[in-house]
């Protein structure tokens, strides 16, 4: 086992963080205690684990960090479920109020550990040495992560003022192009990423990864944003595919960031299902290229979206039908649509909260925007009936799966993930209707869902840190225990339920209205019934988490004071909610952009 982690030359630092030296010493303590409570009920086991961790913290603070890292290993012999819970319990207990754990020195990961002793354990003065200057720098540094989301937002805003009514802009030869759809999605990516990246310092402050892990985290998050921007800006369908696949590869390590068994499993499933699914879309793209070449389009322009959309009527219908079916399946996998959706709840529940916010809030929408471009080509080549049938089928199937699993859901992060599937299927339904009104409403829905879901995931990250569990049944009286956090989480879920004044209300109304106007009201009714089920499940579970008195402390301590979050943790989600509500009241100057994007996709 340990041999595997040490001998893997490809893993950048697998050798330093795991291994025999961490399982020794105090690291084994929490796991052993938790293991001894095998017969008891789960809460009891957790209580013991927390107590054990408390002991460890009081004896020797650095040891607690090792205990956290070693817990999954120590529990390997125990049942998987308990192993994870113990890990979470220990992690949370460490988080609030304790003296800062010195980040493990880089030497701990690079230097080979001699056998026998415990030299991998860093001592406090060492880790504050010259090479670890992070703690001493001014507090502005964590906020540097906001630069790239704000840049994306600014680009989106500039394009949004320039583009409606003007010709699309191109760059990098024929590879990048910005039209109204690009501007809108860039705005969404920028806004959601600003919320998520602004929540990152508060998240990382409690997670306390070692500097190398933190660096890798930031690098991957910004590479992720870059890949999404390229996907949105791509003029060439091949470049679009390359960028979307790149988002999968970049986020794989973000999903597996915590290195528990569960997160390794989630990362594996995510990479395999998304890579294989999106490979189908590549096959579809290749077939469209084949059809375009046969239709006389020159090689350089045969994957260019504008050219293809203009000449789509000359594409061979049989080949295009096959190709579009594959593309819907492939990009649908990435957008969380059935049947290849199995990665989504796992990845979203295991990734760090800001990454979940980004993946759920914008990655799904970016993938779906790619699908919308193919849909325009398909509609021009085959008539609107084919993609309408495909997308309606996918949407209703996804909605049914999401509603069924929401009804029995016991984990609030997975609950949010299934809610993402629900909203993506509503967006797919809007795209299936295909009129400019429906498409504008679907695009607005992307924005509203992205903002609300980002806030909900960031809040759920705080809940998980605070309570050490992701089980809905163990969260009670959140409003009383942490008023600000409870309010933010509650309002985000209210937005996700589609209640006014948030923009999801307006966009859902728009999608349903457009569906009835286009004569596909039957599907809209079916979707509404399923969405109502999801509504009920989401509302009931959230109410159970938020309301009620806080549980009395088990060990007879005095009642805990309400937990306060700092402004760094509260401000970003509040801004996200405000933006979502504002969009619901009026789209303001963005109305022109939305209309232009709807017209662009809906064939004018």
């Amino acid at each position: 086992m340990d041999d595997g982690s040490g001998s893997g030359g490809g893993a950048p630092d697998a050798g330093g963080r795991k291994g025999p030296l961490r399982t020794g010493g105090a690291g084994g303590l929490p796991g052993a205690r938790a293991g001894s409570g095998a017969g008891g009920d789960p809460a009891h086991v957790d209580g013991e684990a927390v107590q054990a961790a408390r002991d460890a913290v009081h004896v020797d603070v650095p040891d607690a960090a090792h205990a956290v890292q070693a817990a999954p290993e120590a529990d390997r012999a125990a049942t998987p479920d308990r192993g994870v819970r113990t890990d979470r319990a220990v992690r949370t207990d460490r988080a609030p109020g304790h003296p800062p754990v010195p980040p493990p020195a880089r030497t701990a990961t690079s230097a080979p550990a001699p056998a026998g002793g415990d030299p991998g354990r860093p001592t406090a003065p060492h880790s504050y040495g010259t090479e670890d200057s992070v703690p001493r720098l001014p507090s502005l540094v964590p906020w540097l992560g906001l630069v790239s989301p704000l840049a994306i937002l600014t680009c989106g805003a500039v394009l949004a003022t320039e583009l409606p009514g003007a010709a699309p802009l191109t760059a990098c030869g024929p590879l990048l192009r910005a039209d109204a759809l690009t501007a809108w999605i860039l705005l969404v990516v920028g806004a959601v990423a600003t919320v998520a990246c602004a929540a990152t310092p508060a998240h990382l402050a409690h997670e306390r990864p070692d500097p190398a892990a933190a660096r890798r985290y930031h690098l991957l998050v910004h590479a992720f944003l870059a890949a999404m921007s390229v996907a949105v800006l791509a003029a060439d369908l091949g470049v679009l595919w390359v960028a979307v696949e790149a988002t999968t590869l970049v986020t794989a390590f973000l999903v597996g960031h915590r290195r528990t068994r569960a997160s390794v499993e989630a990362a594996w499933k995510y990479t395999v299902i998304c890579s294989a699914g999106i490979a189908l879309a590549l096959l579809g793209t290749v077939l469209i290229y084949y059809a375009a070449r046969q239709a006389g389009v020159p090689e350089a322009a045969a994957l260019d979206w504008t050219t293809l959309a203009a000449r789509a009527d000359r594409l061979d219908p049989d080949v295009t039908r096959l190709a579009v079916g594959l593309v819907v399946l492939g990009f649908g996998a990435k957008a969380g649509l059935a049947p290849l959706h199995a990665w989504l709840p796992d990845a979203h529940s295991q990734a760090p909260a800001p990454v979940s916010a980004l993946m759920s809030g914008v990655l799904l929408s970016v993938a779906f925007a790619g699908l919308l471009r193919y849909k325009t080509i398909a509609d021009a080549a085959l008539g609107p009936g084919y993609t309408r049938g495909l997308l309606t089928g996918c949407a209703l199937l996804t909605l049914a799966v999401a509603a069924a699993l929401l009804l029995g859901q016991r984990d609030y992060k997975r609950m949010l993930a299934y809610s993402s599937m629900e909203h993506m299927s509503l967006i797919a339904l809007g795209a299936a209707v295909g009129t400019p009104l429906a498409l504008s409403a679907a695009l607005l829905h992307m924005a509203g869902h992205g903002l609300a879901k980002a806030v909900a995931f960031c809040a759920s990250g705080h809940v998980q840190r605070l309570l050490g569990t992701t089980r809905i049944g163990r969260v009670r009286g959140l409003l009383a225990r942490a008023p600000a956090l409870g309010t933010v989480f509650g309002l985000a879920v209210v937005a996700l339920l589609g209640l006014p004044p948030f923009s999801l209300f307006a966009s859902e109304l728009g999608i349903v209205r457009a569906a009835f106007a286009a004569g596909t009201g039957g599907y809209a009714v079916a979707a509404l019934v399923l969405a109502l089920l999801a509504f009920a499940a989401l509302a009931a579970r959230t109410a159970r988490m938020l309301l009620g008195p806080p549980p009395s402390p088990p060990s007879g301590d005095r009642a805990e004071a309400p937990v306060r979050l700092g402004p760094a943790a509260v401000l970003p989600p509040v801004c996200g909610l405000l933006a979502c509500a504002l969009l619901g009241v009026t789209a303001g100057p963005l109305t022109r952009l939305l209309t232009a994007a709807g017209d662009l996709l809906g064939g004018r």
Binding site: L175, A246, L249, T260, R410
Partner: protein
Amino acid sequence: MNDSVFTQLLDLACGAFLLAAVAVLWLRQLTSIVRAFAFQGVALAAVAALLGLREGRGELLAVAAGVGLLRAGALPHLMRRVLAASRPGDGGGRYEEDVSEARETRPLVNVAASLLSAALLTFLAYAVARPLVALDPTPATRALPVALAVVLIGFFTLVTRRRALAQVVGFLLLDNGITATAFLAASGVPLIVELGVSFDVLLAVLVLQILTTRMRAAFGGTGIDDLRELRDR
């Protein structure tokens, strides 16, 4: 090169390409599976090179060389490294080797049924590819069903094999099939896309390699059936 020689050589290369995919289903030893995959990479490079010679395009020959290097050289090398890492240190000789890690022990569908399924999938590929061939019947497009059959077999491998490395090979079969489709249908996608796709595939294998290492550290093995932490209950 005249028409009939070109057609025969192309059919030979495509036959080898399909045969390698079937061999992946047939073999149990992971090292042999990797070898079959490398052989398939050679066949794929030969297909591209033949098309390049036929059309007299130098850049297609360069792409063929690149494809050969990546798919018959770099990717098998990466997978062999995963396999080498899975062997416990060879202090006591080969008898202590962990056999279960080096073999695909319990696929969901056994080997005989897998081969039968491969035959059915090939039939399916021929049925699905009819409109593709009808659009432009040339010797190259007539071989398109073979490429689609490899895509389907790759998917089948991905779904039924329970070792991490066998799943990676399934994903790569899928990708080889798509690349072959691109070559046979349209002499390859534009160079920038081909480069991007190759880069993504290389990265995907690197990511999966690192995840395999972590999986072994966390679960003590690379069996996909051990991944049972995340469920809806």
